[in-house]
Symmetry: C2
Subunit: 804 residues, 2 copies
């Protein structure tokens, strides 16, 4: 794509688009929002100041964040005006999430709040409840959280607003997301690179993001970086990011209203022109989308001074500017009353406490109201995916271990057709940090391309202005975009190297909290699950070594609410197909799928895989030698490499100790290990015992850190006989097999573990143990000399049992 | 600070600073580095091509990343020239970490590699070993990792190079870090905001970072964003970030050498001028530091085409460009030989295989060599901190529970004096995302300021051009800066809200891996520990609610190597003092300290605290009623709020059931819970049993997710009687006490847990249980009405036992 500036104006707007009457109404609406915001922070009673303010009207604990709130009220009010003027389909993302009072006020004034929460009615009684519930036990939090109508973004943890906004507008060409970015948030890494989202946005098939960078100058107690560089630098930075900034700067309300209205009109008209041009033109161009910089005082319209120190326009306005309590200076009460009355509530609300009709008219109607826009309650819009039959992609497995295939390569073909069947309109996207090919999902490029709206060159591959795959080397963007896409009612998948998914640990936390909370909110509809496909795993880092080895994302995930999280480790391609299909159909979960990408032996036919994945855990009779009896030892495995090594260990044991009764248990659905009282997928103790016995040694070969299995099973009866092998943070660049040796998860160690725990083996066991030790020595000698594994490792094939 | 451009030149340099002879030598040196790099990827033998290349000379597995390597060789060569010309004290940070072959080649050519690894000698035999060890089992990884002399940055996970570079130069005014930033890495969030580090750098007291943005155009299979925006946009972006870019663009070696030498000369001279001016001037200014943009082909000088597809200058040059093996087209072998011979090794190495003296002379001497610079092996420079006696800051605690204090507020005074005593030269810094005041560490501002080199305004607080506290609203920067500071031999502390430390989970992973690996490298010296002080914890989120509640960083940390990680939860201020002192003295660990900031009851005198923290875990006899006998139940607690609730539960039980024998165990050092075979701090089973008994019920009130305690104790004899209460992901904005109720960690639930597990209590127990249930109902009714806790909760004081 070429870049063009589309001849957008670049100077600040000096128009005065608001006639005096309109100006008066806009200002009144803003005052109403500010009044409601201060009311939420302070008032326990007397919501309309119908009587003189006393301490009895003040909440016992004053909480909330005032600093960002009046600026956001200003923005919300002006967006309402623009929505009406241009009939926009717009939602609001509140980056400075602590500005909850603003979004609550905005949605209350437009009527959506009372529709969703009828007890918060549009009268004095409703106002009292509205105020009282804020930051009050049993009430609502101080963020634009899940409880807030119109919100898809909480903002408790800063950095993700712009990523969410871009995710929301992908494939929503009619939607504009007005995204308020705080200048504190703008210092975070994720936000700093999120500006580049404009290189991945197609003006013809996606919607638009209108960022509003809110420079109020301060964080908790520090100034912000972007407010303390020269205007020239700021302008260079934003243009360098590819945007056209419009500046609205000042503090005098009348001038600011005119400037904001003018800037917003220009920005909206430019967005519409860009989209019109893009849809009309055959050749696509990357526009420099508009962006608004609002530089207004922190705590704007709040107390100028408190106790002799400046407040409005300073960091001291960040939270509650004025402490009002029995212990605080008595003058504070009067100062608060003056502050509240400065908004002239008597000019805003009628006798009953309802917003005056002439003001209420300023809000958009119906679903055009930002609090009622269905995009912000994506479950309302969610349609099931059109899924092909995953069994059609099965690898033919005539007998266990007889064929090799790439698990992700196989599921890639399935995903290719998922992409194809859900492309008109597009409702399924795959996100990743430039690893889709590396992760062997390249088949998807038979059906789609990577969406890329920056410049292209002659020999680029699989790039197009619109496509179902989006790749940027920022896990934060991949996660944020996918979350925004899901939250607005679509489907998707994040494919990532296993180790680096920790980069988004904290984003996952916030999304899991969002899912947990929205489950408890009746008017919120369930959305599609967030699906992670983690590959290039700890065990296969031949190129990359120790830095690329961390299977701990599972540990992180299982700390979140059991109703939300699911973890799968399919041992082969057919199981991966079954699991992927299940996850794409599921709702309101986080599904973590850990799978292999390198060609590897296949174990289960499609029918067997479906049965195994449906159970999530099960005995593999063809690999076992206990013939349905109580075994001498259980060899359990979870993950592709542990399964391979377990089967190799079993074949050694069965060859050398044919009378030993071994049971092989494979785990696909990790949370089956937990008790049924702890997780919906958990096994009842009796079912667990039926698999693992109550007192026989269990050698568990696990894909991840071994302690995770102990954490899940500590209260199982057979806990004391459970011995788990897994990754114990030993690694380097070496062969896949040597990695298992370094961590004692290899076939030889597993077999020795059995010998150590089955007492009756006597001399036979001792001889075998020496044989295994010799093997380990031979292995080391061989790879240090040859740089690859011994032929017996490379050529090993399962032969011990061939009947399913 | 004002901003100035210092009249730096902004146009590309067209000088030709290299005379023909110098040009010839620089090019030869670069060819030598490229030759060594290709050799590392391919050659098992025949390192100097003294015989025709055959498949027997090729490694069995070809691994490595060629794409970035020749550009880095080019940079390293030119930096050598600049170091000699200007006698610079410079180290090299290799952002595109996969370019390990370049740094290995560079350090080998300058002689440091063979000094550190004498078996990799400067002769043909050494070359053979150098080549063979690369990406070979038992050898070295493909990154500029800990094994690489001169490296403080691995680059396996991308995004942190520039943060590390800034951290390294803080308080090192003589040091320049040349930091190569790949254009892939530049897309990550952490890197995108790291450019703003220049607003936190003082040119008079810190060193300089010279970023070299290496635009080679491609990632694994995608183009890069910064290579596909217009030159105008790129220039705006870099200037907007506050830098002055110099461009070196092209591919023809002779022209590129001249351009690079000219740009580097100008950049270095500007850095020296900026520093000279800053040190000479009384008024400080924020300079626009120079930055070099090197736009060169990916895989520069490599094969132009492979199998008919373009290679040099395309994404196909990312890893091994040319597969040479028995299975590959035979022509590839000849193509590789031609490629290797294109560097004319016979003109570079003498008969013995040693670099020709005229080339070796180009490298700097002694510690000026980037591979030998002691800043890159910071333990060499590390000096112990000057620490005041922490006991001097003790809170006087005449009896348990009789006084209140803020734990972090208390340690803040200690830290103030640590700052003061280590300020000339400054060797201790506190990093945080604008939370130092919020975390009640404000006392430090009596001794220092927040370093801030952007503009200031009239009412700013605690900002200065140089100071020991550095705050930017990016946990990534805080972590990266601190790591860079520690890796170059200094000391520091990261203070953060507990929940948001997950933002740096992945950075912690990489640092822990670095520490683990360097422990195994004899020439690497131990560095100061990375200390986290986590506060504003899950239990006290009165303002912030659910999004700010996540105690899971501990879970994440304990997956790393036991030799590296330590976790402390001091229950009061005196314990926090003792723990902090211990952590600041420790070496080569990651210490996680979780502590309270709100005023809360104090339990231990300083003497008792020292004893308790030294043991790390212990019985509190003054709180217990078992009088040294076997108790009926053990109440264990870990963390400030769990300790408070446990003691409150104990006082209820002791009041109502005076004959019940209760033992209170408090845990400061979390890893004492683990077996001594698992962690150096772990208790032997006998010692554990002496505290927890082998068969009595243990009610464990834990600060974090309860499963972490189970994960640490699953193999303890008394495991089946262990009942852990902790955070189970229930939360909102509410009182601190109500948070414990929501998660059933409150005094009433804890007391009920005891009643449920001590069978002999009969009717007395049943009555007490009903009483406790009634209390819980009363609590809910009260807070929903009053917005705060019942007076009996607010006013509760420990009185049950007062003798230590």
């Amino acid at each position: 794509m070429e870049t063009t500036t589309l001849a957008l104006p670049t100077a600040p707007a000096f128009d005065t688009p608001l006639a005096p009457a309109a100006l008066r109404l806009v200002d009144a609406y803003w005052r109403a929002a500010n009044y409601l915001s201060v009311g939420q922070m302070y008032l326990y009673d007397n919501p309309l100041l119908r009587e003189p303010l006393t301490l009895a009207h003040i909440k016992p604990l004053l909480l909330g964040h005032w600093g960002t709130t009046p600026g956001q009220n200003f923005i919300y009010t002006h967006l309402n005006r623009a929505i009406r003027k241009y009939d926009l389909d717009m939602i609001y993302v509140c980056g400075p999430g602590h500005g909850g009072p603003a979004v609550v006020a905005g949605t209350y004034l437009e009527g959506t709040y009372s529709e969703v929460y009828p007890h918060i009615s549009e009268d004095e009684n409703g106002l009292r409840k509205l105020f009282r519930q804020f930051s009050f036990p049993g009430g609502i939090s101080s963020h634009a959280g899940p409880q807030t109508p119109g919100s898809i973004h909480e903002g408790g943890e800063l950095g993700y607003s712009l990523s969410h906004a871009f995710g929301a507008v992908f494939d929503n060409p009619e939607l504009i997301v007005a995204c308020v970015v705080g200048d504190g948030e703008a210092e975070t890494g994720p936000l700093a690179t999120a500006w580049h989202g404009n290189k991945f946005l197609n003006p013809a098939t996606d919607g638009a993001v209108l960022p509003i960078l809110h420079l109020n100058g301060y964080k908790i107690s520090n100034p912000t970086v972007l407010a303390r560089i020269t205007p020239e630098e700021l302008d260079q930075l934003l243009r360098g990011y590819g945007w056209t900034p419009y500046y609205v700067e000042g503090h005098e309300p009348a001038l600011m209203h005119q400037a904001m209205a003018a800037a917003l009109d220009e920005a909206v008209e430019n967005i519409l022109a860009i989209q019109h041009n893009a849809q009309a033109q055959t050749e696509s161009i990357r526009p420099r989308w508009p962006l608004i910089v609002l530089r207004s005082p922190k705590g704007w319209t709040g107390p100028k001074e408190v106790d002799g120190l400046p407040n409005e326009g300073s960091f001291r306005a960040h939270q509650v500017p004025l402490v009002v309590s029995a212990e605080a200076p008595p003058a504070h009460l009067a100062q608060l009353e003056a502050w509240l009355r400065s908004y002239r509530p008597e000019e805003l609300f009628d006798e009953a406490g309802r917003l005056l009709p002439e003001l209420a008219e300023l809000a958009p109607l119906g679903n055009r109201r930002m609090g009622a826009n269905p995009h912000a309650n994506g479950g309302l819009l969610l349609q099931p995916l059109h899924l092909p039959d995953f069994a059609d992609y099965a690898v033919a497995v005539p007998a266990p271990g007889t064929v090799e295939a790439s698990d992700t390569g196989t599921v890639g073909k399935f995903l290719r057709d998922v992409v194809a069947r859900n492309s008109a309109p597009r409702s399924f996207r795959i996100f990743g940090p430039d690893e889709t090919l590396s992760n062997k999902l390249g088949s998807v490029f038979e059906a789609t391309s990577r969406q890329w709206d920056a410049e292209t060159a002659a020999h680029d591959e699989f790039l197009a202005p619109a496509g179902s795959v989006v790749e940027m080397l920022s896990e934060h963007q991949c996660e944020g975009w996918l979350e925004g896409y899901l939250l607005t009612g679509r489907h998707g998948l994040f494919n990532s190297y296993e180790a680096f998914i920790h980069i988004v640990d904290s984003m996952f936390n916030q999304h899991a909290k969002w899912l947990k909370t929205t489950l408890e909110i009746p008017w919120r509809r369930n959305i599609a699950s967030l699906n992670y496909l983690l590959t290039s795993t700890v065990w296969r880092q031949d190129h990359n070594g120790f830095t690329h080895q961390d299977p701990g994302f599972m540990d992180h995930v299982v700390n979140k609410k059991a109703s939300i999280v699911r973890v799968y480790l399919p041992p082969d391609a057919n199981c991966l197909l079954s699991v992927m299909d299940h996850c794409l159909r599921s709702r309101h979960y986080v599904n973590v799928i850990v799978a292999a990408k390198h060609p590897a032996p296949q174990w289960l036919s499609m029918d067997a895989a479906i049965k195994h994945c449906t159970q999530g855990i099960g005995i593999w009779p063809w690999a076992s030698s206990d013939a349905g009896q109580e075994p001498d030892a259980v060899l359990a495995c979870c993950g592709d490499v542990p399964t391979l090594e377990t089967l190799a260990a079993v074949s050694i044991l069965r060859e050398h100790l044919p009378e030993l009764k071994i049971r092989v248990v494979n785990v696909v659905d990790l949370l089956r290990l937990q008790r049924s009282t702890e997780h919906p997928h958990g096994l009842a103790d009796a079912d667990y015992d039926a698999l693992f016995t109550r007192d026989k040694p269990v050698i568990f070969a696990f894909h991840g850190y071994p302690w995770l299995v102990h954490r899940l099973t500590y209260n199982r009866p057979n806990n004391t006989h459970l011995h788990v092998r897994g990754y114990k943070e030993e690694g380097t660049i070496t062969t896949a097999f040597d990695m298992t040796v370094l961590n004692e998860l290899d076939r030889f160690h597993l077999a020795m573990d059995v010998l150590d725990r089955v007492p009756q083996l006597g001399n036979q066991g001792a001889h075998l143990k020496q044989y295994l030790k010799d093997k380990l020595v031979a292995h080391k000698q061989y790879i240090y000399r040859h740089g690859q594994d011994m032929p017996e490792i490379r050529d090993w094939q399962w032969t011990a049992g061939v009947t399913e």
